[in-house]
Symmetry: C2
Subunit: 358 residues, 2 copies
């Protein structure tokens, strides 16, 4: 078995406006305040269990160069692939499978988002390594199910089925984002896990399952592979563009019986919006998160995130449950419970010709 | 009678941090968003009723040049005077009286703060002109009492006495800043006015009243005048430095019987803190005030004041009764009801060696 990783890095990430922009989406942000972008962290986590030349980054044409720059010299430029169009995770992983099949028929693949947070990288590496082994030995697609710590309504859930040993289970069901009451039940029951959107599978199993359960994707594999081998960009674009724009969960994972879940214990967050910072960035005694040059007086539950250069100061006085984000050219202020709506600002700018701040 | 004005421009104005700074206090701010500083507005108001060469600006040594630059070429540099020390309004007006006495014994003087807001300049000019006439003809010190529009606890009040005609009254009493209940009574009674800290008086009356009711100031007039005539900076500093550090209200106005009040009807605000903007800057239907390049979505009662250059955008989403102020190097966010405490930020910066932002 040869281990590969596909890092899915095509996201646009408007939810982290104003830090995220069209040309600098979430995966290219140093969100954790340590100077490293999320995609660098994603690559580093992979490097614990597989070699750099087996890491493929799949992104959009507009981000390809920026990502190549960030990952230089670790990742060979030929491993940073631009999708001809946006076709969601199903399109991305089909293209990835076609690409890997041109290089290695004996591959086992980890499909990983570029823009998530993982708290304990050693524990993640151990889980990833174990998932590679189970995927290989059992011929199953392994997902990572995260132990819920709150009744989150923003994630999908996976219901655990029969144990397979060593933290692996059959999947009883996939559940879409629940309402609050259902999320409370899921949390209380102990048998549900957050669907992290990370998968490990043998290339042959993945392609066979695609052919059986997701025919538009399964039947695209051969022409995509041919187009890649010939360097035929037109054929690639045409074939890829014909794919449905759906998630791999919807296209395959919820349909195939060849699936298992690893009940993961590492900290994980999909970093869906600014409130995620308060979960991952170690708030102080008053529940405040402070990034960059800030002063906080009489603040509670407040995130002050100053990503501008250090000549600029962000001051909060008497704030409760507020988020203030400063970049070189935009300042955003909103309550914690409105961070999910930050896209409204992006939409406003787009519809009012204020493109310079997009 | 020759009309003069003393514009008191020595204030430090920390309450408008981060727009106000040590070297750019309130009177040097374009607070009204029209590009003109408050002191320019103060000078323009005077020019409606007296000539530029009769306008004296009294400020601190550290602000003298900045003010001269702002008022160039309207006000002669020799009319922009640096106080040797900070001695409050009593010291300022005593120095002003000594200076004017070296130039003109037949002066009537308007003493005016440099950093207040006045809404209707024509009405103010008419009131000022009338006050000059009454001060001249009656030999009274005329104050301007502003019609209260809310139970403000941040201002002193003047109780109207017998009418003198044409909107002028004797003063029954000066009242210090009241508590809320008392302020409500003052507002309801109709016979109280806000003490605006603006005065008009004949130079001879002012000096005689100082001599009688404020001896430390009255007896300083002659030596200050001598020092000014001789250009003896040491003597000036010594004599001025010996003055008590008290307000002209406390030193003289509350003690002299030779005082009247004009019941003014123009809009006035002392611009004490950021909440003043919402009173003077025409809030929108949702009670929001927006200055500079801003986007406000679902905001109410919120002030978004962006004084940075137009390449920078200030966005508020879902805010209620908040103030966000942006300058080139500082961003301040606080609730409307905490703006009186903005000095705490200034004190924090001072005590933590963060002087670059003072």
């Amino acid at each position: 078995m040869n281990r590969y990783a596909i890092i899915m890095a095509g996201g646009s990430g408007e939810r982290f406006f104003p830090l995220s922009r069209q040309q600098r989406p979430k995966q290219l942000l140093p969100l954790l305040g340590n100077g490293k972008t999320l995609i660098e962290h994603a690559v580093e986590r992979c490097l614990q269990v597989l070699p750099a030349e087996h890491i493929l980054i799949i992104t959009s044409a507009s981000l390809q160069q920026a990502i190549a720059d960030v990952l230089h010299p670790q990742i060979p430029p030929s491993n940073i692939i631009a999708e001809p169009a946006k076709r969601n995770t199903a399109g991305c992983l089909t293209l990835g499978a076609a690409l890997i099949s041109t290089r290695d028929q004996n591959a086992t693949v980890a499909a990983l988002p570029a823009d998530h947070y993982i708290g304990d990288t050693d524990r993640f590496a151990a889980a990833l390594s174990a998932a590679f082994d189970v995927a290989q030995s059992h011929g199953l697609i392994v997902t990572f199910g995260i132990q819920p710590t709150r009744p989150e309504t923003g994630y999908g859930y996976i219901e655990l089925g029969e144990p397979l040993g060593e933290g692996f289970y059959r999947v009883r069901s996939f559940r879409e984002k629940p309402d609050r009451a259902t999320a409370e039940e899921f949390l209380a029951s102990g048998s549900f896990r957050w669907n992290s959107g990370m998968f490990v599978y043998r290339l042959d199993i993945f392609t066979a399952q695609l052919a059986e359960h997701a025919p538009p994707f399964g039947s695209a594999l051969a022409p995509l592979r041919q187009a890649l081998e010939r360097g035929d960009h037109d054929a690639l674009s045409r074939c890829f563009g014909d794919l449905p724009n759906v998630s791999i969960d919807y296209a395959l994972m919820e349909r195939t019986p060849a699936i298992a879940v690893f009940a993961a214990t590492f900290d994980w967050d999909d970093l869906g919006s600014w409130d995620a910072l308060a979960r991952i960035a170690h708030p102080d005694m008053q529940g405040n998160v402070r990034i960059g040059t800030t002063v906080a007086l009489d603040c509670t539950g407040t995130t002050l995130a100053n990503y501008a250069d250090s000549s600029r100061l962000l001051c909060g006085l008497g704030l409760e449950n507020l988020v203030a984000v400063v970049t070189d050219d935009v300042i955003l202020v909103c309550p914690q419970d409105r961070v999910q709506h930050v896209r409204q600002i992006v939409e406003y700018l787009r519809s009012h010709g204020m493109d310079r701040w997009l």
